[in-house]
Symmetry: C2
Subunit: 144 residues, 2 copies
Amino acid sequence: MKSEIQVFREYIRGRRLRRTPEREQILQEIFEIHGHFDVDELHLRLRDKASKVSKASIYRALPLFIDCGLVREVDFSDGHWHYEHVYGHAHHSHLRCLGCGEVLEFEQPGLGCLEAHLAQEFGYRIKGHQLQVHGFCATCQEAE
Amino acid sequence: MKSEIQVFREYIRGRRLRRTPEREQILQEIFEIHGHFDVDELHLRLRDKASKVSKASIYRALPLFIDCGLVREVDFSDGHWHYEHVYGHAHHSHLRCLGCGEVLEFEQPGLGCLEAHLAQEFGYRIKGHQLQVHGFCATCQEAE
DNA sequence: GATGTAATTGAGAATCAATTACAATAATAC
DNA sequence: GTATTATTGTAATTGATTCTCAATTACATC
């Protein structure tokens, strides 16, 4: 399997874009994040490492990472985007607690089959899906 | 089955909130919308009927409707919230075209079973889920 | 290695949906 | 009817994201 930096560099070359230290710093940082992140968090983490990458550059780089399949947008319905490092990870869905915000991951293999079915029924070429389940975790149920 | 206005009035009474013409106008308008809507659209439709309800009131009313199960937030990943009239409708998921923005609905009965499974495995009390599938419709595939 | 080009950058301004403060109004309880 | 307090519209504010613009820099070519 190609390394993620490799995937990104090939993508960059293929599009006549440019390989910059900023983009690679951002990507590197994403690899090191365990779990989900948002732009603010990513920016702070880079700040802490004395990187001067601006938020604007992060906002500009993320669509590239998404486009080449390294990162995925995740919707937690809290008013801004979250992202996750996706390359080489099994596709999964999120179970989110409406009380404390905890997010668990689970696998849902049946959805590949659903995609094939939808492709056939509606004539779509399917690119992906997002499934979120929400509710209250054990702790938050007690607290109610 | 209780009428939707009834559901809402009981909810209002139960919470010691107040029944106002603005809220009922908004709710009434939502019933008459076929399909999905966003705050802007709802506001324009009310304007057209010479209603003076402000956007702020719409923003303030929607969480109430959601809370009493009459309306559901829908995420089309286009930067702002969409909603749909939900009471008495079968739960469904959305298939969205990344090219033209078309949205189709489909039913996915297996997910009720998934919810029960998750409830058991993680100790959650599940409140609901959202599934969106995205890809390119037949027309947009040709255009590429 | 120098040069031209066009992509990329950071900083800050602009945008836009959503929220909030405030004073006026109006729904409910008494 | 009166008091209480939720709700309203208006306008200001917030906060995430996008855009602008001048300066910089990566890459291809000489």
